[in-house]
């Protein structure tokens, strides 16, 4: 059910990743300000964007689950959030590396993306204890969807709030996806964004397929061993 189209997706991901890396290291010009360090931007920002979209998508899938009662949408929502959290770890680590290389500190409060990400990350970490402390599977799915919806709505509002706060206390010091990006950089950035998106979708389908297969195996086992169960 979930694995439809996974093979072409995987191939596209591999191709895009190779192309993007090539663009990053052989095509994109060096930044005037930050030199080679700026290359981190091509992995850090796409990861952040895809992760944030993953969180919002998880919320939308939660809405579909509640409206249709179809539990497969809760599974989709869960995996999307799960993977976005993992990407979130990568965002925070690569962001810290960038901050250290460019500014000498492992953390920057001036970077709205990084700060807002920390808050969102802290919120979504609660998803696991919430989900797994509810035993009834139907209720677990429902409550998870409710959380996914509230948290998904929270992501853009939080981003806006943090951005407003930073604009007033610290002017934006690290200009990233500004309009002043030359064409080669923009092309490279978009290629990386596409690659990370494809990667996310491929792995998402992969995980859903594996989970579904496990669930089906459990059903099969229960169908085959009715007497063994006391």
């Amino acid at each position: 059910m979930f694995s439809r189209g996974i093979k072409p997706l995987a191939i596209a991901t591999a191709v895009m990743t190779a192309v993007s890396l090539g663009l990053v290291f052989f095509y994109a010009p060096l930044d005037a300000d930050q030199g080679f360090i700026q290359k981190i931007f091509y992995v850090h920002v796409p990861l952040a964007i895809v992760a944030l979209c993953g969180f919002v998508a998880g919320g939308i899938m939660g809405v579909i689950h509640l409206r249709t009662g179809d539990r497969s949408w809760d599974a989709r929502s869960y995996v999307a959030i799960h993977m976005s959290i993992i990407l979130g770890v990568a965002v925070l680590v690569t962001g810290a590396l960038w901050a250290k290389a460019a500014w000498g500190h492992w953390w920057l409060w001036d970077e709205p993306v990084l700060v807002s990400f920390l808050v969102v990350f802290l919120l979504y970490c609660v998803y696991y204890p919430l989900r797994f402390s509810i035993e009834d599977p139907e209720r677990q799915a429902r409550y998870s969807s409710v959380f996914a919806i509230a948290a998904g709505a929270f992501v853009p509002i939080n981003f806006a709030a943090v951005r407003m706060a930073e604009a007033f206390t610290h002017p934006r010091v690290l200009s990233q996806t500004g309009g002043s990006m030359p064409g080669e950089m923009r092309l490279t950035f978009i290629a990386c964004l596409v690659a990370v998106t494809l990667l996310f979708v491929t792995l998402w389908k992969f995980e859903l397929t594996a989970k579904n297969a496990s669930a089906q195996l459990n059903r099969l086992r229960r169908a085959l061993e009715p007497e063994g169960v006391s």
Binding site: L199, S214, L224
Partner: protein, 64 residues
């Protein structure tokens, strides 16, 4: 000007990309373990199904 000279900076860029790849590779490893487990369970259940079928045959029931 960046805070670090360019050869120092290279290490951080490399580290960032290494983090990205490590995450992917670790994920693939975990998924590989999951698939291996699914394969094992599938074999187990297939054996069980065949065993149950053999028992039904032995008990004299008509083969489906």
């Amino acid at each position: 000007m960046p805070a670090l000279p360019l050869d120092e900076a290279g290490k951080y860029v490399a580290a960032a990309y290494i983090v990205f790849f490590t995450l992917i590779v670790v994920y693939v490893a975990i998924m590989a373990a999951k698939v291996a487990r699914i394969d094992r369970e599938l074999t187990e259940l297939t054996d069980l199904a065949e065993q149950q079928r053999a028992e039904r045959d032995r008990d004299g029931e008509p083969v489906a």
